[in-house]
Symmetry: C2
Subunit: 124 residues, 2 copies
């Protein structure tokens, strides 16, 4: 397992544990966090920590898979909040000098399948 893959897994595990002391050790002080779907960006480890401490309560992320190379990584994870169906999400990472320099999150939502392709598709 590459170090960066281990960092991706530890990122999700410590987020789930709300182990902020360990979580921040993974991050570059100038880390940039982005959510392209809302066009939101947070600059810096301190604000990103505050954001997660305040807004990730009950997220309960569990890693389904981590892939990484020397400079990039991804976590495909499942998250749930009480009373809702578990949902897939993914976080893309960049790394430099053993630290996470960016995190980009995606939160896909369920939608109805387009009609006309039922002859090729089964529902799962």
């Amino acid at each position: 397992m590459t170090d960066n893959r281990h960092r991706v897994e530890t990122f999700i595990e410590t987020l789930d544990d709300r182990d902020w002391e360990e979580w921040v050790t993974l991050l570059d002080p100038d880390v940039v966090y982005e959510i392209p779907q809302t066009r939101e960006r947070i600059r810096g480890r301190d604000r990103y920590l505050e954001f997660n401490q305040e807004f990730s309560r009950g997220l309960a992320p569990a890693c389904r898979g981590a892939i990484a190379d020397d400079t990039n990584g991804v976590a495909w994870f499942v998250w749930e909040v009480e009373g809702a169906e578990p949902a897939d999400a993914m976080a893309f990472f960049t790394f430099a000098d053993g630290l996470i320099t960016s995190v980009t999150d995606f939160w896909p939502e369920p939608y109805d399948p387009p009609t006309g392709r039922e002859h090729l598709v089964e529902r799962c």
Copy 2:
């Protein structure tokens, strides 16, 4: 670059080119394609080919990044259809014996940012 990372990039490029002859050479005959957001599944290379030939017109995917290891890979790509804003999507892959054995697509959509976090966030 790993062979699997090259396969991920070739998958997106040949999809963009609609080069089906090349595209199918990447796939295991029993490849499984899934879209968790719609709970759709397609079994087998032939149906998956037919699906893409019929339903991917105008998709124009462009790879933003590919990450892969010996068994798993991901493509983060941008796609656009005429008249709409380009959007991010991602495809996760599994590999065996040099062929793609599964593809799982996610198509996140824009949404309004929750209120209450403006003090930490900039818009981008």
